[in-house]
Structures are given as C-alpha cells and as structure tokens.
Amino acid sequence: MSSSTSTSEHAPEQEARDAAVYRRYGFVLAGLVCGALAAVAVFLYAVDPEGTHEEGDGGALHAYRDVLNRRGRAHLLANGPWDAALIGSSRVALGYDTDAYGLRGGRTANVGLMDTNLWELVRVAEYALEVAHVPLIVVFVDLHCMSSRRKTNFDFERSDFDRVDDEGPLEHFDEDEGELLSLHEIERAFSTLEARSAGRARVGRNGVDRRELPEGHRYREDTAEHLLRVYLANPGTYLNFEYGADRIDELERFVARARAAQSQVVLVMPPKHALQMECMTQIELWDDFERLKRDLAGVASRQTTLVLDFAAHHEHALERMPRDDEPGARMQHWFDSSHGTPELGRLVLARVDAALEGRAQEAPLFGVALDASNVEAHLVQCRSARDAWRAANRDERVWISNVIHDDRLLRLLPPFARR
C-alpha cells in the first residue's frame, strides 16, 4: 500500500522530468531545423541565383548568375521596363548582343530559350505583351521549333511564363518563397559565387548568353555534332519531324492580340548557314521550310505585320566554314551552321530597324519582307540561290551526306529509337 502511494507521489515528478527531456529534444530539433532553414533562406536571398529579388544586390551578381533558363528569362522580362524584346531559341540567346545594340535604340531584352518550340515561344510572347507590356516584340521562328511533337520543357512549367488565371494561394507561396528554401537553388547559388570568383560572366545585362567559343574550336566537328545530336537525333525535331500547322494559327492569334493592344510584332526567320540548309535539303525538309515561309507570309498579309526572312543563301550564309585542321581559323558570323555570332545578329537587328522605319533592303536575300504577294517569287529566288550553291559546293554536299549517315547518329539516338 505504501509502495503504491509512494509511486503515485513520484509519478508527477517523473512525468515532469520526462516532459523536460522531451522539451529539450524539441528545442534542439526545432532550433536546428529553423536555424538551418533560416540560414539557407538568408544565403539564397543574398546570392539570389534566380535573379528574383532585384533589390537584393543591386545587380552586382547579375552577370554571374545562370539565369538563362525560363525562370530567369521570365524574371528578366518582368523586371523591365523594356522597349523591345527578342524571343526565340538559343540562336537568339547566343547571337544577339542586346547590350550593344537595342532595337530603335531602346532597351531590348534578349529572351532566347534553349531547346524551345513555337508553342512555348507564343506563350513567352504573350507574357511579354500582357505582363511586361513590351511595345515591340520580335519573334524568331525556326523550322525546328515547328514540330507539333515537341513537348514543353519542365523548366517552362516552373516559370512565370506558364502562369494561369485560376491560381490560388498555394503555388504563390510555394513557388516564390519556396525558392528561398530549395536545395537546387543552393547548388545554383554556389555556382554563381564560383563564376563570380572566376570572373566568368554568363549573361549580359539585357539577357544575352555570354558564352564564348573555346580555344581551338572545331567548327566542322561542332556543326556535325549539332546536326546529329540536335537536329537529326532529336525525336522532337527533324527525326519524326511533323509540321505543326496549328502552331502558326496560334502565332497568328497572338499577333492579332498584340495589334489590338497597340504592340508591334515582327516575325523573323533567323539566318542559317548554307550547310544547315543543305542538311535540310538532303533530309527532305526543304518543302516544310518553304511551307513555313508561305504560312508566315500569309500571317503578314492578314495581320499587316512585318515578316522578315533571313534564312536564305545570302552572302553571310555562304561564309566558308574552316576545316578542323585549321584550329586558329575563326568564322566571322557563325558559331556553327545554325548559331550566328553577335556580329551577324547586329546585322539582323539593323535590318529589322531599317524595315521598321520603312527603309529598303540593302543586301540580297538578307531580311526580305515577306507577304502573300511576293512569297512565291522569293521562294523561287531562294531555290535558285540554293541550287547555285549546291552546284558550286559538291564537297560540302558530300560532307553533309557523310554527317547524315555517320554512325555517330546511331550512337546518339536513344535506345528506344534505335530498335
């Protein structure tokens, strides 16, 4: 009996001791978790690897951030104001130095997206129109962006570009504030600091991709690799290519909306090197290539918008590509057969400016303003220029043929596609 009484008397003391043990555990656990999360949040806010908080560092780290992804591009656009925006694929990101040349002399955003498609570009253009209120929007339309088989990039879904009307509070908190508690962002923050300490700028003030060609760059090898990996082995592009006519309809609807909103839209078919166009000829995509030009010319006529075609055998497209045993040789206008240098980009932008001002075209086939009335004649000219190049460049045709039939293509294909 006494023992039982003693036990019951001691029970509250024991309970209190136990509670103290649990409380201590709880404080350590909560302190560690909250402390670690707070440290991460402060670190990410300070480094801001996504370029989200423009007020953070006053732009000191901007050039070193890897903000060439969709999220970074959306932040760039939203953090305007912009007088113009260039929207397109990696050709735009690499080839148009908008820090050095702005359309109409204004501030021009470079919104080049890696591995994109026309569906996505239209969404980005809508964003530029409706969110960033950009008065001049230039959309670069490439044939390889046309396939209806291409999927949306996951990065796009994480970005502001994919904003929707029916959103609730969940994603706002999760996505905006969540950036400050993200493991992925920690990696990116360290990468930013590493680039800063190495003095390796990645992106220009207005969004141009500052990557440079490595020493001893081999143009032929790079071009072959690009053709194989990007154009021939990518199931979303030329392999199983399928022309998505609905994409043009979407683009046209956007142009109409922009007109109604008093914004100007220019559609540009960016330049391609003759080797690239030879590849398209040999893999029988030339008809689709012409179809795209016809479709865009139709948009130009129906929407009275400016469509400029740079994808033809003009003088810059014919620049000789060095052999790989000429390591010191540099091309003036090309990184490879489809990515032009900022020097070529400057010529393109100057031509766009001239066309906007109504000045006449100076160089043949370089930036021809298309509409329904001249497109057929223009296509005949393009074909003729192409045939002339083919007749004069048999070796290059053979080289392209060899690339297309290179065994590397098979190795680069995913196993599913190989079987």
């Binding site: 136990d18 509670a19 103290a20 043990v21 649990y22 409380r23 201590r24 555990y25 709880g26 350590v28 656990l29 909560a30 560690l32 978790v33 670690a36 999360l37 991460v40 656009l77 939203a78 953090n79 305007g80 104001p81 007088d83 109409r104 204004g106 964003y127 969110v131 960033a132 209120h133 008065p135 996951f154 879904e157 994480r158 970005s159 502001d160 904003r163 929707v164 029916d166 959103e167 609730g168 509070p169 969940l170 994603e171 706002h172 908190f173 999760d174 996505e175 905006d176 504030e177 969540g178 950036e179 508690l181 993200s182 493991l183 992925h184 962002e185 920690i186 196993p415 599913f416 079987r419």
Partner: protein, 518 residues
C-alpha cells in the same frame, strides 16, 4: 514609348493543374503555414476554451484543408457527413425490423455517390467499347479522398447496425472530426470509429504536450524524408519506361525490370511515407492513428503481405466485405470465391480501370493459390525444406508475384502492362540496354530494397513511444529492437533535424502522393 513596369505574376507550380491546388503534406504551405497555424489554434482553444470548440476548430481546419483543392466539393462532403451521421443514428435507434432497410439504403447511397464520381466514366467507357456507343456522363471531377471517406462512413453505418456504436459516445462534431481529421482524411489510414472517437474525449488529447509534439514531429519528418528523398527520386527510373510502353514502345529486359522494381519501391515508400506523416501529424495533436504498413516487403507469403500492406484497407475489406460475404464459414470453395471477390473489389476501389481490376484479380488468385497450397501441405505432410531455404524461397516467390502485379497497378493500359511483363519475362530478349541507365538505378533499387527488407520500419524505430493504435503486438514481436529505438536525446534530434531540413529543402520538387489518386 511606353515604359510601364511589368507586374509580377503569380507562378504556377510544376504540378498539373489539379495537383497544384491540393494542400499536400509535402508542400511549403502545409509545413510552414497550415500546420503551425492549426496547431496553435488547437492548443489555444484547448487551453482557453472548451473541448467542443477544439473539435469544431479542427473540423473547420480539416474542411479548409480539403477545400483548398476544390471548395465545391466541401458541400458534397458536408452533405455526406450529415446524411451518414443521421443514418447512423437512425440505424442505431431503429426497430430491428427496419434497421436492415436503413442500412441498405445508406450503403447504396454511399456506393451510388462513389459510383457516380469515380466509376461513371469507367462504366461509360466500358459500355462504349463493347457496344460501340458514344455514351458519356460528361466531365466529372473526382472529389479528393472519396474512396477513403466513403469506406470510413460505410463502416460506421455497418457498425451502427451491429450495435457497436452508442449515442453517448459522440456528437455530430466528433463524428465529423472522425471522418475529416486532416492527417488521415485524404489517403488514410482508414480509421475505425472505435480507434479515435474515444481519444477525442480523452482529456490529454489536443493539449500541447512535449512528448506528443516531439514524437509527432519526428515521425512526420521521417515520413517526409521517405517521400521526397527516397520515393520521388526512384520514380524517375520507373516513369519513362511505363510512359514509353503506354505509347507503344517495347522496353528491353533491363528497362522493364528496373521500371517494375523502381515502381514497387516508389509506391511503398510513397504511401508508407504518407502514412508516417499522417501518424506523426495526428500525434502532434495527441491522437494515435492505426498502423498502415508493417514492412510488407518482408512478407514470406501473400497472406502475410496483405497483413502488412495498407493494413487498414485490408482490415476494412476483411470486416466489411469478406466476412459479410461469408468468410470461411461456408466451406473451402466458398471461402476461395469470397477471397477472390474481396480482392476484385479491393482492386476496383483503387481505381476505375480494368488494370486495377486485373491487379485485384491477380492478388485474389495469389491468395487462392496460397490457401490451396497451405491445405495441400497440411493434408499430405510433404517434406519440409530447411527454414532458411524455405523462407528465402517463399519470400522470393512472394516478391516476384507482388512486383508482377504492380505492373498492372501502374500501367495505364493492358497493352503497356503486357509489353513490360513480356520484356521482364525475356520473351522479347534479354537486352541489358537501358535508356535510364543501369548502375545508378541499380544502386538505388539495391539500397532501397535493403532498407525495406532488412531495416525496422518507422513504427518499430519509435517503439518506445507506442506511436500507433494497438502497437503492443508489434512491440512484442521484435524485442531485439531495443537498442535501435528512437529516444528523445540530442543524437536523435540531430539526425531527425537533418532528415527534416533536407526534406524541406527538397519540397520544391515535390510531387503528389500516389494514393491521392485512389
């Protein structure tokens, strides 16, 4: 030129449109806003108001949790709660002659509800496929967790009929909390009224107790870690192959096995992670939930597997389907038929698709074969293998059967399932080529497999705290765990803090829980 500054838009999450609006346990909003706010509200009311106010607050909080996804469905849920509570009362008080009629009406009404929301499209598609018609019920949005709360309420009606529920045990608000309590509402565990209604009246429940909060938070972090750090990454090795097969591709031998094993692990870690989170969350409020997983991949036979996998569903199917069908009381043949019927219903419960029915049928067949094998062993006294050999053999056969069945569970069409099973069997060759890699997925599968098979489960690690309802039998079964169990000391705090912090930092990649679809 216009220089208007761009307005910052809200951002869309990487999840699909439906998923984005669910207040998932693995979201920043839940972990950093909803949960702390609900705990604070509950504790404040427990301290300064009465029990009824606490229960009402938790019901409202749970409805907010539910309505976050689709506020429109809160009305449907509320109607279901009112109707079932009223029916339960009516059944309990009705004269014996009319009780059965009320019960039938209640069960039919619940089944009609779930049939409309979950199975109408499936039914129409099946009829259309057979008859070549174009029949349609239109687009019907599936209310989140309908399978779970319907089962829970059907069980309540049946127990009312059996006289196991008494008026004085609970009021309407407590009933609502029993069904909607947010930790277990969306994806279980499927709670039996006897397990929680009594707890809701316990004076120690809903108070801020250091032991409940610390045990609950630690349990929650373990579950969160299982979900975001283990289940989600391994899903990357299953998804491409199942998608490829769905699109008509023929995976290789290696790809098919990697996909099937990765999915088996993903599903277990995902669902058991969710269940751990549910148990931990409830414990923070002082409530204990039933155990839902007991290391199912350690099972030595298929019946053992079903005693360990989704235990509360197995219990429901046993108590409210198998036994009412007659169980084993009407002879061996009828028992086998009942087993098969129960598993078919279990399969269909998981999803409105023939692949789920096939999955249920397979497990039904496994159980039938297992039952017949046991009878054969008993009757003919066959020579026994050494225990270690027999255990290894039976574990291997069981796991093979389970993994094969998961292929039907995961595949979105029969064609896709057959392609993957064909590749696993070697019919299409034994190519080791794999587009998802071999070494990395192999290491993931090996590591997670060892974790699932050789390590204690979460409840066993927390054995000292008796974290779940009816934990005693688990505790008694594994006395050797004493050295490994969780204790409220600094070492465990550091370990759990590391798991929790890492998991929270991965939430931006979080995906939905698989069982939210069911």
């Amino acid at each position: 030129m216009s220089r208007r500054r761009g307005s910052r838009p809200r951002r869309k999450s990487p999840r699909t449109s439906d998923e984005r609006f669910r207040l998932l346990f693995n979201s920043y909003t839940f972990v950093l806003l909803y949960l702390p706010a609900t705990l604070l509200g509950c504790f404040a009311l427990a301290r300064w108001a009465g029990r009824a106010q606490v229960v009402a607050f938790l019901v409202i909080a749970s409805l907010v949790f539910y309505g976050w996804w689709n506020p429109g469905h809160v009305a449907l849920l509320s109607a279901s709660l009112v109707a079932n509570y009223a029916l339960g009362r009516t059944i309990a008080r009705a004269a014996p002659a009319s009780r059965r009629a009320w019960l039938s009406a209640g069960v039919v009404a619940n089944i009609a509800l779930i049939a409309y929301y979950k199975y109408a499209g499936f039914f129409a598609d099946t009829v259309n496929a057979l008859a070549g018609t174009q029949w349609s019920f239109g687009a019907v949005a599936l209310p989140l967790g309908i399978s779970f709360f319907t089962f829970q309420q059907v069980a309540y009606l049946v127990d009312s009929y059996r006289g196991e529920i008494h008026d004085e045990q609970h009021g309407f608000l407590e009933y609502c909390l029993f069904v909607t309590f947010f930790p277990q509402f969306i994806a279980g565990p499927i709670v039996h009224h006897a397990e929680v209604l009594g707890q809701f009246r316990d004076r120690r429940v809903f108070l801020p107790r250091a032991d409940d909060l610390t045990v609950g938070a630690s349990y929650f972090f373990v579950g969160l870690f299982k979900k975001v750090a283990l289940a989600d990454p391994v899903a990357a090795y299953a998804r491409p192959t199942f998608t490829y097969a769905l699109n008509g591709g023929q995976p290789t031998f290696a790809e098919a096995w990697i996909a099937a094993l990765a999915y088996s692990l993903q599903l277990y870690l995902d669902f058991s992670g969710y269940s751990d989170m549910a148990v931990g969350l409830a414990r923070m409020f002082g409530v204990k939930l039933p155990m839902n997983f007991d290391s199912p991949y350690k099972a030595l036979d298929i019946a053992d597997f079903w005693r360990r996998w989704h235990m509360t569903l197995s219990r429901f199917l046993r108590d409210y389907v198998y036994i009412p069908l007659g169980g084993n009381r009407r002879g061996e043949s009828r028992r086998l038929v009942n087993l098969m019927a129960t598993m078919l219903i279990g399969g269909l419960w998981h999803g409105a698709g023939w692949t789920f029915v096939a999955w249920g049928a397979l497990h039904g067949a496994y159980l039938v074969v297992h039952q017949m094998w046991r009878r054969t062993l008993e009757q003919f006294a066959l020579p026994r293998l050494p225990a270690s050999v027999a255990n290894t053999l039976s574990w291997s056969i069981t796991m093979l059967a389970v993994v094969v069945a998961w292929v039907f569970f995961r595949a979105e069409s029969f064609d896709a399932a057959w392609r993957i099973l064909g590749a696993m069997s070697g019919i299409t060759g034994f190519s080791l080529a794999s587009s998802v890699g071999r070494v990395e997925p192999g290491l993931w599968i090996l590591a997670l497999g060892v974790l699932c098979v050789a390590f204690p489960n979460t409840a066993e690690f927390f054995a000292r705290e008796k974290p779940v309802v009816e934990f005693a039998r688990i505790e008694q079964r594994r006395p050797w765990l004493a050295a490994l169990v969780w204790r409220p000391n600094v070492a465990w705090a550091v370990l759990i803090a590391a798991l929790g912090t890492y998991s929270i930092l991965r939430l931006h990649q979080a995906s939905e829980f698989l069982y939210f679809n069911f």
